[in-house]
Amino acid sequence: MATPASNTTYVRIGLILAVVTLIEFGILYVPALKSVAILLLLALSIAKFVLVVQYFMHLRYERRILGWVFLTGLILSIVLWYALWAIMYYRIPSTTP
């Protein structure tokens, strides 16, 4: 069975991805946004990530088990990120006077 999405949907998603990339680039030229720029860029990056996974990789049309498989890998890599940062920056409190 073919995917329910049409060529028009894919082209729209492609256009949204292009525009979001342009916005990300534009943010770097607006000093007034400096305090929120990283948060904005991360949010836009997550939006692009989700669009590609959901539409281009067809996850929104697939059985849920595939989504869980992917999410497991994603969560484990985030846990790994946290664990490595913790190992790197955790300091054992000194017990010597």
Partner: protein, 200 residues
């Protein structure tokens, strides 16, 4: 609903085993790139020697290469969609576009690496150099493998081997290609754009 053009398979999950296995592979690759990315974020700014990211990065150029890769993903999904509908000529066209855009991205990366090398950023010269080249180099290797895979499918198609009954072959290659794309979406933000914000 299972999306696609799966071969007539009868499995416990209702999904072709090949597709399920490939999603497990993608999950493991996610952890692989996660490890490389966290290594980059931990080491890139430690013991700075040699050229810094701010001196090297050309964000307008990287934005163009990002656009190139995103559009290759669009072309890839259109190729899969065309094959599902038995439109072989259209599939070949979009597959060729994907290959050309993939080669374009690799060209950008070769240019960037050679430029950085001539600016003094080497693989062993600094922690930034090591973590940067390993991270983006592995991504580039994945793009190169993807391009070779797509070229082989195009040749297979020209010999009449790829038709709508075998669309899963192209779909799985497409999954790999889109995965490479989502990895770059993250790298572009974490490696390049965050550096641009620091320079604001």
């Amino acid at each position: 609903m299972s999306a696609t053009h799966d071969e007539q398979v009868f499995t416990n999950t209702g999904i072709s085993n090949r597709k399920l296995a490939f999603w497990f592979f993608i999950a493991s690759e996610t952890m692989f790139f996660g490890a490389l990315l966290v290594t980059y974020t931990m080491y890139a700014y430690r013991a700075p020697t040699g050229p810094t990211p701010q001196e090297l990065f050309n964000i307008p150029l990287t934005t163009i290469s990002t656009f190139d890769l995103l559009m290759s993903s669009l072309a890839m999904v259109l190729a899969v969609h065309a094959l599902e509908r038995g439109q072989i000529q259209k599939m070949r066209l979009w597959l060729s576009v994907t290959i050309v855009l993939g080669l374009g991205f690799l060209g950008f990366q070769v240019y960037e690496f050679s430029h950085f090398y001539h600016q003094g950023l080497t693989l062993s010269g600094s922690l930034f150099g090591t973590s940067f080249y390993v991270l983006t180099g592995f991504h580039g290797t994945h793009v190169a493998v993807g391009v070779l895979w797509l070229i082989s499918l195009l040749i297979f198609s020209l010999r009449g081997g790829l038709n709508e009954k075998r669309s899963l072959d192209l779909e799985i290659a497409g999954l790999f290609w889109h995965f490479v794309d989502i990895v770059w979406i993250v790298l572009f933000t974490v490696v390049y754009l965050v550096e641009g914000v620091r320079a604001l």
